[in-house]
Point group: C2
Chain length 158, copies 2
């Protein structure tokens, strides 16, 4: 997977959190994710990409980080994870995927994005097809740690 | 959501299980799924749809059903859920979404499908955006119960 693809998602994630959540995350580690190797956190927003680029983006938070992020996002102190919190995580995932889509289209690649699904479950894992590379990027922030995971195949690439 | 959309997914699910898994499932209940109202099972294949129809399809199994279905699918008796089992559930989700896509395109609607992600976690829940209707269809089968959940907005529909 080309570095510029990953950078588009990192850039979009930092932009979205800065402007929508007033949090400036710092990129931590980038790693190739092998199936079952690492767990996602408790709450994961997931959106499918289809077109010249096919894949998915996952935005995954521990519950505590999710609550702080969504509290900032909607401007109200939240202490329990309910469907409004999950909706907000879905919306953020949508904003990040949409931002990356814009960056991709400026570089001549187009894809469409599906609706966000948000998975909630302690220590759930998300498996991808073995033939689609997946890169995990962890972030640290004032709200706590979180990660994005990008699975992507771009038409014409190897 | 129009009944014919749901029927395309039901038809595709029954076809896929009949031909690929040698199991003939029976449709049980159809219900409108409200956020957080009902739990998914332990293992859920999830695929995004993007284009004239936007949404997602989830194929969700209890672990026991998943093991029986995948054992039939690959012709080998399996007793533990590993990444091969999750891959196979992803493949089945892909076949079902692809089958529905074909039925939709014969009726003049086109959409693209993303790659399947498979969520594994006891009693995980999957949340969708509130503005996208979601229909749950449960099935009974010789391998045990399972469900499909279809979230769909079709361009031009209300």
């Amino acid at each position: 997977m080309k570095v510029e693809y990953i950078n588009a998602f990192i850039e979009s994630t930092i932009n979205a959190l800065k402007t929508m959540v007033m949090i400036t995350p710092k990129r931590d580690k980038i790693s190739v994710k092998k199936d079952g190797e690492s767990a996602s956190f408790d709450i994961s927003g997931l959106i499918g990409l289809a077109g010249e680029a096919v894949g998915s983006v996952v935005l995954s938070f521990p519950e505590e980080t999710a609550l702080k992020v969504v509290s900032n996002f909607i401007g109200e102190e939240l202490t329990t994870v309910d469907s409004d919190v999950l909706d907000a995580i879905g919306e953020l995932t949508n904003i990040i995927a949409g931002g990356a889509k814009k960056i991709f289209s400026e570089r001549g690649y187009s894809f469409k994005i599906s609706i966000p699904n948000v998975v909630h479950g302690k220590d759930h894992k998300i498996n991808r097809p073995k033939d689609v590379p997946c890169i995990s990027v962890t972030f640290t922030s004032d709200a706590g740690p979180f990660a994005i995971e990008i699975s992507l195949k771009v038409a014409g690439d190897k």
